[in-house]
Every structure is written in C-alpha cells, then in structure tokens.
Symmetry: C2
C-alpha cells in the first residue's frame, strides 16, 4: 500500500538514517518519494546515490541544498557559485525535480541587506544557464525572517517571486509551511506563484508554541498552529500537485525516536492534517 | 547637557528601575523622553505616575502596551477591549504621544490566522472613538514574524498600514527596528507610512547573531546587524522626527548590569550609530 502524495526530506530522520537507510525506509513504508541533503549524498558519492534512486524507483522531490550566495568578496561569491554548479550536477544525476536553494545571509561584518539580496540575484543568474541545460529547475526557498541575518536574506514568497520575475525561466520557489505560514500575503503570493508556474516544491512542517529553539525545534504536522489543509488547497488551486515533503528539524524530539516510528507518524499526520 | 532625540523605553532597564527610578535616571542622564510600561504604572498608580511625568518634564513617547485582541469567544474579546480602554485613559493621563498596541496571537486552539487578524481590526475599530476623543493616537506595532502565533498576528509594516487605511484617522504605527529590519519592503512601507502621517513612534534595538532566545536576547545598537542610520534617514525622510526610543529585552546581558551603566551605553550607541 503506497502513501500517495507524500515525500520525506531526509533531514526529518537525519540522526537515524543515512542515504540508503532513508531510501529503504521510504520503500518499506510505501512512501514513493524522498528528498536527500547533499551532505548525505557526499558520504556515499553521487554514483552510488544515483544507483539507489534507480533501484528503489523513488521520486526525488528535491536535492537540498544550494544557494548561500552572499560573501564579503568576489572570491567568496565565486566559490559559492562553483559549489552550486556541483549541486546542479548532483540534482541532474539523481533526476531530482529541483535543486532547493536558500539565499544566504549577510556577509560577515556587513549590515547591507540590499547588497546581500543583489548578490543572491546575481548568483542565481550565473547558475541559470547551466540549470536550464541540465533541466534542473532552481527552487528558491524563502526562509522565516528569523533567519534573515545568517541564513536567508530572502524571507518572503513575494521577495522570492520578485527575483524569479527578474530571472525568467528555469527558476521557481520551494514553499515550506514553516517558513511562510505567518505571512499576511501568503494566499495572494501562492496564487501569483501558480500563475507563473513557479511552484516547484511544497514542504510541510508545523510551527510549535512555544518554539524552544530557533533552528531545531520544528514540529510534526498537527502539533502546532498551521492549517495544513487550507495551505494545501491553496497550493493545489495554484496548480501544484506534487508530493508534500516532510522536513522537520527536531533535536529534542523526533531526531531521538526510532526512524521507522517517525515515518509512521509522518504518514498518520499527513493523512489526518495535510491531504485534501 | 541633554541628549536630543533619545527616549528610553522602561523595558530596557526594567530589572533595575521602577517607574520613578527610571524617570529620575533619564533626567540624571540628560535624556528628555521615556516610555513606560503599564505594569510599572500600575505599581504606583496613574495619579502618581502622572505627577512624576509633570515634575520631571519628561516627554512620554508612548505607553506600552495595549492590544492583544484575539480571543476564543466574545467575552474574551470584550475583556481585551475593556483593558485597552483603561490603557487609553492612562496614556491620556500621562500625556503620552501614543498608546503602543500589539495585535495579539492566535486564540488558544485556533489555527485561523485570518480570523485572528479580523479580531484585531474589530478591536481597534471599537477603541478608536475613545482614542480620538482622548487625543491618544493608537500606534499599532508590527512584531517580528516569530511572534505571529503567540503575540502578534500583524507582523509587517505593510499589514499594519493596511489596517490603518481601513480604520482612518487616529491610528498609526510604531516602527521598531528589531521587528521589521528584515523586511524586503521596509523602505517602501516606511515611505508609505510617512505619506499617510502614520508614523507615531520609532523604537530602536539591534538583532544579534546568533540570537539565543526568541524573546529576551535583543541587542544594544551596534552589537548586531541593523543599519540604524539608514533606517533613521528613511524615517526622517518620511516625516517623523520624534525621539528614537530604546527598547531592549536582554535577560542575560543588559538587565544584569547597573541601570546607569546601561543608560550611558544607550547614549553612546545612539550617538555613534543612530543619530543622523
């Protein structure tokens, strides 16, 4: 019995499973898609990772992650672009639906957020010809504004779509409930993303109250305040029908439980709260 | 020697000083304005607080805080409005420039963020006639999106100004660097706020990297990533020339230092980073 429309981002079970174990666990639970992090691909090498993808028949809803463009000097920015070129190759080798990118934060010592955002647009522009040729869509993921300084100076769907509009084809957005649920313009921007065929991935994760850690206390669907069904209805109304990808960083809770138990809960909660 | 253009929000020294001590300390340091929290007013009573304001001659740049409108049922929402009516009376008694309000978060158990936002608009609309009659402008303060669930479902300047546009005269915004610095639309929305004469207060506080606590690890100007001078230039270009009000919650750092030392640093940093 397969679980239609569900994907597992390997971060959700990163303390329990390596690449192969995560892939095998998805198959075992009837989950037909997953999304691996580059760190896990690196541990076994791209050829082996690609072989596992082929052998298991899993859909790869994304490779995580590229981006992190701003840097204090040109050599730093060039190095970031080179690293992203390798990420595009990996995404192509694994036949991934997209390469997920986050913008990156302020260069060390800088307070010039506008300049950092320009570096993001420039970095993406430099990558796009290769990404288009490789047929690897670039999925820019806005992160919650609490990460603007150190991880992602592109924090809203609107800002990400503005960049997409500048850059043209071959780029879109990854929309993660955790990062954008709070946005007053969420629904209008999801609709806008749909009109431009810009939605490349839909990540799911709940916002806990209280949130005890800014990075590693994310919630399983149903444990927080996000209305996943309403969110998904908007995503589907905008034309995206790809899998919902569970991505949960949870140092004190889900990362401490057996991986198979976590996947069972993912499936249960997906069915209870997220399917529409 | 007075420090032109500086105000001290009493939260900055709330562990060191009560209302009278905070007022006296401002006078001692040549700071001509302050902004007290209602908890501190309550401890000595409104008449005594008003007497201290008159005796010291301090400008009161705001009373903090009203708002918190959403509630699970009508009696809860009515109670919030009644509490805000008392806050308006206090602001009038202290001759405050405005009453600072935050929206409030989701009612317990609710995942309906749109409904919560409607409750905010309705609550403000109910208060406005009294506020106008008392000549107490209501200053809606958008809070950082990490507080959307539990403190303020109005998280952006744009969203706050949209509410102001609906409600008409007698309401504007308090703009706190800490809460809005990350916003890609910050500059355009400050300009919009200026066009509507909506800027009622300018709070200053830095964003630290890393931020170790979501509520109580805010930074002294200069210790984080915010470009205060650029921010202030935009505020003044938008027509607001009132004091910059230092509001810093800092459980592990500034709240542990002697209050006079903190005020000295506020003055130094204000001159170094914030004055334009």
């Amino acid at each position: 019995m397969t679980v239609d429309g569900l994907s597992i981002n390997t971060a959700t079970v990163r303390e329990q499973f390596d690449f192969r174990q995560a892939a095998d666990a998805c198959v075992r639970h009837g989950i037909a898609a997953f999304a691996p992090w580059r760190e896990q691909i690196a541990k076994i090498g791209v050829p082996e990772a690609a072989r596992i993808v082929r052998d298991t028949g899993l859909q790869v809803t994304g490779i995580i992650r590229g981006g992190m463009f701003p840097a204090a000097d040109k050599s730093g920015r060039d190095a970031a672009i080179e690293e992203n070129r390798r990420a595009i190759e990996e995404a192509a080798a694994l036949n991934a639906d997209c390469l997920v990118l986050i913008a990156g934060g302020l260069p060390k010592g800088s307070k010039d957020i506008a300049a950092a955002r320009d570096m993001v647009t420039e970095g993406l522009a430099a990558l796009l010809p290769q990404a288009r040729a490789a047929k690897v869509p670039l999925a820019l993921e806005p992160l919650h504004p609490m990460y603007t300084a150190d991880r992602a100076c592109v924090a809203t769907l609107e800002a990400a779509l503005d960049i997409c509009d500048v850059l043209g084809d071959g780029i879109g957005v990854a929309i993660d409930t955790y990062h954008v649920w709070w946005d007053p313009k969420l629904m209008s921007q999801i609709a806008r993303a749909g009109r431009g065929n810009r939605i490349l991935a839909h990540h799911i994760c709940d916002w806990l109250v209280p949130t005890r850690d800014m990075l590693l206390d994310r919630g399983m669907m149903g444990d927080g305040v996000i209305d996943f069904a309403a969110f998904r209805r908007a995503i589907e109304a905008a034309g995206f029908h790809g899998p919902q990808e569970v991505e949960i960083f949870s140092a004190e809770n889900w990362w401490k439980k057996p991986g198979d138990d976590v996947l069972k809960v993912c499936i249960d909660r997906y069915r209870q709260f997220c399917q529409v």
